[in-house]
Structure formats: C-alpha cells, structure tokens
Symmetry: C3
Subunit: 326 residues, 3 copies
C-alpha cells in the first residue's frame, strides 16, 4: 500500500526543543526562531509528501476538530486535508447547527469537544481573541484560522513560505500589501511575520482603507500603487471584502480597479522578477486583471498548495509540543 510505503520511507525531523508552543494564535507573539521552525517544517513536510499529496502517519491516532463559526470552504478544507495527510482523523463543527445557537458559551462548546478527546481545534470566529480565550480554557492545541480582523497566522505563513520558495530568503525584500488593510487579518499576520524575517513592508490603498496609523506597526504607508510598484519584490493583492464593510470606503469598484488594480500597464513598471500574490478568492477585474492573475509572475496557486504544507507543520508542531508538556 502506498500509504505505508510512503510512511516508512520518510523521516520527519523531531520538533526542536526551542519550539514550546502548544497553540498557534498569531504571528505577533512568535519569535523569529519560531517562525523559521514553522517555515522549515512546512518545507520539509511538503517534500516528504511529494508536494502535499501523499499521506504520512505522524499524526495517526490524533483527532483534529474544525470549528468554523464563519463561512469557509478554502481554509476549512485546507486544514482538513493537512490533518488527514498526516494521518489524523477530522471532525467538523459549524456555527449554524452548533449548540451555540442553544445558548451555550464558546468555552463550554470547546470544553465539550475537548472531552471527546480532540487533540487540536482549528478555530475561525468573527470575534478577535476568541482562539486566545479558548487556549486559556482547554488542554488541547488551538490553531487560529482567522479571528475577525485580527490575525490569520497560517495565511501569513503560507504567503511567507511562497516567497521563501521563490527567493530563498525574506531578508531585505520589499513586500507590498495592497487593498483592504483595515479589515484584513491576512495583512496583520503578514506584517508581523514579514518584519521578523527582515522584509520591508508597504501597505497601500485608499486612505479610507489604509490609515497613517499603520506606521506604528513599522510599515511604510502609501496611497499610490503607481508610486511604489518599481520598488516592490512582491505584491500581495488583498481582496476587497465587500461583506465586511459597513460604509463605502471608495466611490466605486471601477475607480478602485483603476487606482489599485494590478494590470498589464502596471506590470510594465514592475521589477522583472516581481511575485504576484493574492490570498483569494480573487475578484477578477477588481484587484487583479485576468492576464496578471494567470500570468508568469503569479504564484497564487502555489499559495494554495503551501497552505496545506503550513497547516501540516502547525498541526505537527503544536500537538507534539502539547504532548511533551502534558
């Protein structure tokens, strides 16, 4: 059987002593060393699974609960596949049919699931800090899959891994995040991670979505994509999250596309080896034109594959650290 064969042929490095984290709540709290451990483990697991494809059994006997209190298919399935490709079982919880609608507290919901002997919970919730709250109240590992506009650490890591794969290092690169920064957990997690690995980060967008206050995060703030393009090694084009906006941050989608959309004309101003990234789902014709999304500089689909690598690494590291302490 392929499963067994793959497995016995593979030696995954043990979790280093420096990794002490039982949870992955955000990249803000991680040291540079922790981030590198996550990164190198993801790279190793991607290779060991033939590109996130084959199965290992290093999490065999473990159970991972997907607890998504906001809609998701992409991240949910990415975590689910990551867990199963390491041999873990998965259980799925959703907001609509859960006991929360019967008045149960979030902590009680989590404790109940923990009592079913779950080893890790993957949590997405609209309230910032929800995964942190749970991590203080349960014994299993908590992985933040997005807490409101706060953090989305595996998305940050998969973006970083994709740049690392292409360039070998983040040190000294200029990475611009373009678009809806205010509401973006992806932007926050990227900023924390990129800066710790030595990249220069620019956040760019209309002043209604990118305030000057972002300079306090140690990043450069720009309101003109055309101004910054020639300096960028990486452009990460965030989706306009129409579903998160309560007032209109710009006159029209057309104007946004005109001012901040990446297109053929702007590609001509860019470095020859610029990387085009987007966390997806993408709005074609808004933040990115089809020729750029599907062009040779786009690594958008690499990001998707690396999402599984990063999530395998996060599940492996946190549950192993958890077992060590317990």
């Amino acid at each position: 059987m392929k499963v067994a064969a793959t497995d016995s042929a593979v030696n995954i490095s043990p979790v280093p002593d420096t990794w002490q984290r039982r949870h992955l709540l955000g990249l803000e709290a991680l040291s540079k060393e922790d981030i590198l451990t996550l990164l190198h483990t993801a790279v190793e697991l991607k290779a060991a699974t033939g590109g996130c494809k084959d199965k290992l059994s290093i999490l065999s006997g473990k159970t991972v609960a997907n607890m998504f209190f906001e809609n998701s298919t992409r991240t949910r399935n990415s975590f689910s596949l990551a867990a199963r490709r390491l041999g873990a079982d998965t259980v799925e919880f959703s907001a609509s049919s859960s006991s929360l609608s019967k008045g149960e507290t979030l902590i009680d919901t989590a404790k109940t699931i923990e009592a079913m002997n779950v080893d890790a919970m993957v949590v997405r919730h609209s309230t910032p800090g929800s995964p942190h709250l749970l991590s203080q109240n349960v014994g299993c590992s908590i992985l933040n899959a997005g807490d409101g506009p706060h953090e989305h650490p595996t998305q940050g890591m998969l973006d970083i891994m994709t740049i690392y794969e292409q360039r070998g290092s983040l040190e000294g690169l200029t990475v611009a995040m373009v678009g809806d920064i205010t509401y973006s957990r992806t932007a926050r997690s990227n900023i924390w991670g990129l800066k710790k690995l030595g990249a220069h980060v620019i956040v760019c967008g209309p002043s209604t979505l990118v305030s000057k206050a972002w300079e306090e995060f140690g990043v450069e703030v720009s309101h003109s994509l055309d101004d910054i393009i020639p300096r960028c090694d990486v452009l990460n084009l965030l989706r306009i999250q129409f579903e998160r906006q309560y007032t209109r941050p710009f006159p029209s989608v057309r104007e946004y596309a005109f001012l901040y959309g990446m297109n053929k004309r702007r590609m001509e101003q860019a470095k020859d080896d610029i990387l085009i990234m987007a966390p997806g789902p993408i709005n074609r014709g808004v933040e990115i034109t089809p020729d750029v999304a599907d062009g040779p500089h786009s690594v958008i689909l690499h990001q998707v594959t690396n999402g599984i690598a990063v999530r395998m690494a996060a599940l492996y590291l946190t549950t192993t650290a958890n077992q060590r302490e317990g």
Copy 2:
C-alpha cells in the same frame, strides 16, 4: 502504526448470547440484563481505547450513516467519532439537503441509504417512533439518537455510565432529574434505565413542566428543589429547551433560576458526595451557576467522554447481533 498496535493488543469480549438486539430504539424495552451488557461493554471499550481516544478495528469494513433530521453537532459528532474509533466509515445525511424535501417518504430515504450497504443508521427525528418505524422496514441496525420528546437511549446510558463509574452501582441511589421533564427524551430514557438498575428517581420542576402524571412511571414527583436536595445522590439538571416550548411554562428565566437553579447555597444542603450532571448544552446562570458547573462535584465533561463509550458499545452490539441473525 499506533492503530495496528492498539488493535492487536486488545481483546474485546464477544457479544454475549443474551444480547439479541439488532437495534437500539429505547431503554424502555431493554431488560436489566441488556442494560448491564451495554454498560459493561461501554466500560470495556472505554478502557480498550485508552479513554475513548485510540482506534480499534472491530467495526472495520462497516459503514455507519448519521441521519439527523434535527440539528445536532454534539450527538452527531459523538456517534461519528464512536464509529470511526471502532474502524467504521461514516456518511452524513442532513434534513435540509435531503430528498425528504423532494417528497420522498422517510422509509424510502432509509431504504435507499440501506441499498448503499450501510450497516447501521443513527437516526434523530422530531417525530416520536420514527426509529421504530424504520427498524421494521430496513435490514440494517437502527440506533435512536433522539425521537422528539420520546427517548434518547444513548444519552440515558451515558448518564447511567457516569454514575456507575463514580459509585460502582446504581442500586439504591436517589437520582433527581430537574427541569423541563415534559419535553425531555433524556428524562424518559434515564427514568427507564435508572429504575431497571434499582435507583430511586425523582422528577422535579414547576408543575407546568412536571405533572403529577409522572408518578405512573414509578417516580417521585416534586415541585421543590430545596425539599429534595438533602436526599439526592445525583442531580441531573436538564436544560430549559426554549426552542421546544410553545407556551411559557414559568413567569421568567430569573424566577426559574431562583427556584430550580443549582447554586452555591443549595450545594451546602446537599450530600458531601453529590454528583452534579447536565446533558448539555448548559445555560449558565439558569439551571446551573458557573461555580457548580465547574466545581468538584460536576461530572458534566465525563458524561461527554462516556457518550463516545456508550455509542461505541451500542454500535458494536447491534451490528454484531444483526450479523449473527442474518
């Protein structure tokens, strides 16, 4: 591999000849001997799986269908984990997306699923007797996961198992079920099971939720929690099921909490070794205060773990009996 290692090291007792049941429809119909078989098998399977955690393969090659026509995550996932920890495959059906909405009868839905070679169906339905109807029309095993206000046998058994683990026997214990008895399938299943094992059962709550007619079930009826507390070995605090009530059974939630909520003051009147149980999800501050729910007498989370044990036992016993007869 852990899975194989666990498996070969474990010897599960064969199903006793006295167990002839291909279905688990309710505790009313079970003999004392049947209930003890379920109980002892659950205890054995819990131990054999390291506390409902490791995997066995005694149901390998079998498929269990979860058919929940009412919302559920807790019971659904508990059954699903129970099935998979015994090595079975699971398939999920739900009311909203099922063919029932296209005019198919419940029996035809079940026969169709059976034709996909399912070995057991776990059925939750708002209509009392639905699992019984199906058991007369399909060849596979039917497990009742709650039929309206009628029975919820695995919930009754997990409550009983939790008491048994703490006390070694149910004989002579006084167990009070407090709250919304009228609409409670949990209360009904508990009453049948507890009485067969020799416990004295009290049902307690406002007269709008606990009528004198319950005396016909051979239980004591009380309308005052304060009166009965000193005599109780176990208090099972049922959730007020706001979603099942069509008229208001009490003036206000606050008054209910004042009269029937378990709190610190009432704990002082209780026996030193009282067990506090709740089927969950709990409404903190209504039927139970946080200090009691999280206190040393609470076995609420043990109930959750034992839910998996009891469901493993039920799946093992019914499908094995089914095979023996077929």
Copy 3:
C-alpha cells in the same frame, strides 16, 4: 484486517488501452466501446467488493472532491462512498458556504481546489456545460454529477447496468422513459447510452413535458402510457420535478397519476418480465403506486447499489487514464 485481506485477494483488470478519457462529462460523447468498458468495470468492481460493500485500495493515496452546487444527498453520498470504498480520501464543498458567494469564478474555485492536489472533482451545477468548462481548465479528472437539464452520465450508466444485470444485454430491448423528459438530465443520459447499446427507446408523457422534437434524438415519442406498456421490457418512471417547473405542465397531480402513473391495473397489461425502474426519490402515488414500487418487478434499490458500482468504475477509469497521460 478485512480491508487488507479483501484487497490482496482481488485483481482488478487494468484499464484497457481503448479507454483514453480523463473525464466523464456525458454519455453523448462516449463510444459504444467506452460505455461497455464502464459497464464491465462496474460489474467487476461490484463483484470484487462483495456487492459494493468491502473496501479496496486501488485509489489509495488519491483525493476526490465533491463539489455540489445544487442540493444532493443521494448522489453526493454515492460518489463519496464509491471513492472511499476504493481507498480514496474525500473532501466536501458546497455552494452555500463556498467562495463563489464571495465573487470567485467557478474556474478559480476549481483551480484552487486542484492546487490542494485533488485527483478528481465530482461536479453538480445548475448550468449545463459547467463540468465541460472545468475540464478545459484543470488538470484533474472531472466527473459530471448532473449539469442542469443536460446530462447525468453516472445515473444513465447505473440504469443501464441494472438492466444489463437482469437481462445480460441491452440489444433489442424496448425501454420507456415516462414523465418529465423536458427537464430531465437522467432521460438525456439514458437515451444516449441505451441507443448506443442497441435498445429501442420510447419517451412518454404529456405533450407539455414530451415534445415531438424528441424524435430528432432517434427515440419514439408517445403521449399514452397505456398504448406502449405491452411492448415495454423496461419502464423508467421519472420523478415529477416540481422544483424545476416554472409553469404548470399538467392540470393536477391527480390527473398525472391517472394518466401516467404506474399501478396494478397497468401492470396487468405489461410483459411478464417487465422491469420497473425509477431514479428516485420517488413520489409514491404520483408516478408509481406503492404496490408497484415494492413489487417483484421493481429493481429500484438495485439501481441505488449499482450507483456505487458505476461511480467506482468512473473514478477508477478516469483517474487512471489521467495518470497515464500525465
């Protein structure tokens, strides 16, 4: 373990060189030889799995994504069980919670899922041609699980397989499809497949649901069930799809049942060995009476079991052909 035992005992025929199809989009495009390959592979896999019950590992290490953008439990679970009985992993996507609701294109959704290293996508979509569009844009195998009123090839194949099991050949048989032909992808797939295997096909129903234009498909058109019954070897009673009809195609359900429902009286006019089929879910008392649905001529539940056989065959053939070319 049963899984391993079954597996090593079984030799599945290699995919013949004549089968070059990486996708299963419809029966219209298949040659007679292709259809026979699908049919014989389904028969072989059914036998090798003890009647679509045991597990093989011929798709071990592969992942199948279920992408149902229309509600389904029957077909979705049938594909899911087929995939898992061949040893594949499955992931589930649904319309409501998917990124499509965030403005993503269908192609981008599919490419994203493909980047998670999926080997086959099972697609149901209300727009005819959606699976064809995807097959031109992704590298993995696409299996059409119903595209609007266009085709539903595995349904066509399972109907054909059920007749083949009973009669040994389709050559020269007269098969009538009765009912809602206009909106029926099942009818279209059946017609293509049946005619290629040499059957004579009649479509029968009220003129509002069965127009004379169907004669262009090379089938006989009838508006009277009573007229054609004596000549039929097989009756396939399509469900009236109330959810797909925008204007009323007949005066009343009662009148439809009177004119086109199969019942005891009409069975007396039929051949002694007539086969009664229905793709389900059935509306008892409309297109079929209970005594006929549950009677000795009914092979409705065989159709369900054969659905798994046909889907195992389709997954095996397409993904193997895909690997061969890649």
